[in-house]
Each structure stands twice: as structure tokens, then as C-alpha cells.
């Protein structure tokens, strides 16, 4: 799943600089939570879905990528609606749908290297103040974004394996193996980074 993300391509969104995409996402995310017009939010959600599909990822693949969070959004909408807050549901659902598809479009069309470079450039002022090591902080942010889909996928696999064996799906039964896998993978990632000698440790605080 992870190799499908941040892949190369030539769509307009791929060619847009990462800084523009990240700034745009931040602005739209902020505006979306201020707007309280169901019609406007629904239009934005439709546009967001169109933007996500313009990346060439395909309808089926995109639906699979976002199935779990979209299921949660549907549940939230159903609860709001069930509580008699149809108006709230009409705002919450399109708002969250828009944000999920737009953020997915950004991660789909931006390579890991480009993402890290952009974060590093954005964090440079804080490095000049002596607050952080911009290169390492940017790498941490980028790794976190890249590994979310992988961990969601692993959670799904663990749950399916346990369901297949007829085990009850208790929270600890899901999280314990998931956390162990995450810790093991974190060590592998650290080794891979060290093997490539990146980024140089400047002995400053993260």
C-alpha cells in the first residue's frame, strides 16, 4: 500500500510544488471548519473527490485507501443524525470527507523526498533560532505521514487474521501485536536511515 503513495506522475497536482499543496491544504482545512453551510461544504467535498481522482489513482484504489476513515465519518454522521442534529450531520460529513480526500491527494502526488525538503525549508527559521534541527524534524514529520497508511493496513490485517481464527476482537488483542510491529519497524527504519547516512546529526535538540 505504501508504495502506491507518493508515486511519480505527471498530472497537474503532481507538478504543483509541495509547498503550494501543503499551504493550500492548511488554508482549506481552516476555512472548512469555519463554514457552516451544508450546500457549500457538499460542493467542496465533491470538488475534493474530483481532485483526488485527478491524481490517476483510480476509484477502486482510492476507495480502498480511505475505507476505514470514511466508515468512521459515516458512523459520526449517523450518530449526529440519530441525535436529531440533521443540520450538524449535513455539515460534519461533507467537511470531513473533503479534508480526507484533499489530504490524500496531497500525499498521493508528493514524493517523500519533496515532502521532507519542503518541511525542512519551512522549519529553517526555527533552526536559526536554535530550537530544532530542521533536517531531522522534517524527516520525522515525513516518516509519520508515510507510515500512517501502512499501520492502518496492518491493523486491518491483524483484525482479519483474528476474525478468521474466531478470536474475539478485544482492544488489547488488536493493539498489542500492532504496537510490537510498529516498534520493530521503527528500528528497521532507523537502521535504514543510518545506513544511508541521513540526516547528519547536528547535535542539537529535536
Amino acid at each position: 500500500m505504501i508504495d502506491g503513495l507518493g508515486s511519480t506522475g505527471t498530472t497537474p497536482l503532481h507538478r504543483l510544488p509541495a509547498g503550494v499543496k501543503l499551504a493550500g491544504l492548511a488554508v482549506i482545512a481552516t476555512v472548512l471548519f469555519v463554514v457552516r453551510e451544508p450546500m457549500v461544504l457538499t460542493a467542496v467535498a465533491a470538488a475534493a473527490i474530483a481532485v483526488a481522482l485527478s491524481t490517476g489513482r483510480g476509484v477502486a484504489a482510492t476507495a480502498r485507501d480511505l475505507a476505514l476513515p470514511l466508515g468512521l465519518v459515516a458512523a459520526i454522521g449517523a450518530v449526529e443524525w440519530g441525535l436529531g442534529d440533521g443540520e450538524v450531520a449535513a455539515c460534519v460529513v461533507p467537511r470531513l470527507v473533503a479534508l480526507l480526500f484533499l489530504a490524500h491527494a496531497v500525499t498521493l502526488t508528493t514524493s517523500t523526498a519533496e515532502l521532507a525538503e519542503t518541511f525542512e525549508a519551512g522549519l529553517a527559521p526555527f533552526e536559526r533560532l536554535g530550537l530544532i534541527d530542521a533536517g531531522r524534524a522534517a524527516l520525522t514529520l515525513t516518516l509519520a505521514i508515510r507510515f500512517v497508511p501502512l499501520i492502518v493496513e496492518e491493523a486491518r490485517e491483524i483484525r482479519e487474521a483474528q476474525a478468521a481464527r474466531g478470536l474475539s476482537i478485544r482492544p488489547t488483542a488488536l493493539i498489542v501485536p500492532l504496537v510490537v510491529r510498529v516498534l520493530v519497524r521503527a528500528e528497521e527504519v532507523a537502521d535504514a536511515i543510518d545506513a544511508r547516512g541521513f540526516p547528519p546529526n547536528k547535535n542539537s535538540n529535536m
Partner: protein
């Protein structure tokens, strides 16, 4: 911070995000979809220790500000940073730090198994509930202008779920540490 620490911080931040995106266990009789995201925050402190646990939470908060839908149910954006519930978001930093500090003191070889488990549960509750709610309710009252009783009572509706999550975080920590040796820092 070593590269290994960087890996733990980044992947634990990703785990906290993932736990907010995966619809968690349907609890009988509870209509609200529950995620284990706040249990992930307590886990970060309990497992990684105060410094790295707080760093993992800081990464998640940064991703929220960048507009990524990383909070439970897909919320994100700078609006969350300044919204009425911002105290609960930034309070996560203190929650992970306090949980990690308590765990580092009490969950050691020097203590009896009972003390160790009590330390994990106590750390999760002190950080993830007492300290977190103090931040959350303070911001609801002074930042968002809710009357204190309303802010307090409203927050208390989350208490049963959060107690369950603190217990989950503590038991998961004890079990994971049997499978994976990890020093806290």
C-alpha cells in the same frame, strides 16, 4: 536524539494517527463510535518515556496544524488549534509527559509486579485524565468562554471511556514490554 529515537517518535506519531482513523471496537450499548486515539497518546508516554512520548505527540499536533486529517474521525486543520477543544489537543503533550514520567519511576525492576502495574495504570490516569482534563477544561472556560460547570460536566461524559482507555494503555504496555525490550527516555 538518536536516529533510533527519531524512528520511534515518527512511527508512534503515525500509530496515534492510525488509531484515530480505525473505527475501534464497538462497545456494547454505546452508540458513539469510539477510537483508541487517546489510548495511543497514553501509550506513547508509558512505552517510550516522557521525552520521546511528548515528541511523538508534538508531531501529531504539527500534522493537525498542517491540515492533515489526523484526529479521530478525520479532523484536522489550524481551526482545531484554536477551537474550543484545543486544550485537549495541546494537553496531550503534558499527558504523555506525565504518564511517561510516572511509568519511568514505578515500572522498573526494583518494584513488585503489583506496584509496576499500578504505576502504569496510575500514570495513564494521572496524565491522560487528570492533567489532560485540567488543560481541556481550563481552555473551554478561559479560552472558549464556556461557564465552568458546563465545561466540567460536558467533559465528564468522556470520563468512563477514558478510564477504559487508560486501563487498555496500561495493560498493553505491560504486555508489549514482555515482547520488546525498550528503555524509556
Amino acid at each position: 536524539m538518536t536516529t533510533r529515537d527519531l524512528g520511534f517518535v515518527a512511527l508512534f506519531a503515525a500509530l496515534i494517527v492510525a488509531l484515530g482513523l480505525v473505527p475501534a471496537v464497538p462497545l456494547a450499548g454505546l452508540p458513539v463510535p469510539i477510537t483508541l486515539q487517546s489510548a495511543g497518546v497514553m501509550l506513547a508516554g508509558l512505552l517510550l518515556g516522557p521525552k520521546r512520548g511528548t515528541a511523538a505527540v508534538a508531531v501529531v499536533i504539527a500534522l493537525v496544524g498542517l491540515g492533515f486529517p489526523v484526529l479521530s474521525g478525520g479532523r484536522g486543520g489550524l481551526a482545531v488549534w484554536v477551537g474550543p477543544t484545543a486544550g485537549f489537543l495541546f494537553g496531550w503533550l503534558a499527558a504523555a509527559f506525565v504518564a511517561g514520567t510516572v511509568a519511568m519511576r514505578l515500572d522498573t525492576e526494583a518494584h513488585a509486579p503489583g506496584v509496576r502495574l499500578a504505576g502504569l495504570i496510575g500514570g495513564a490516569i494521572l496524565g491522560g485524565i487528570v492533567v489532560l482534563y485540567a488543560f481541556g477544561i481550563a481552555w473551554l472556560t478561559f479560552g472558549a468562554g464556556f461557564a465552568f460547570p458546563k465545561a466540567f460536566v460536558g467533559s465528564m461524559t468522556f470520563l468512563p471511556g477514558d478510564i477504559a482507555k487508560a486501563l487498555i494503555a496500561a495493560f498493553v504496555t505491560a504486555q508489549v514490554r514482555r515482547a520488546f525490550r525498550l528503555e524509556r527516555k
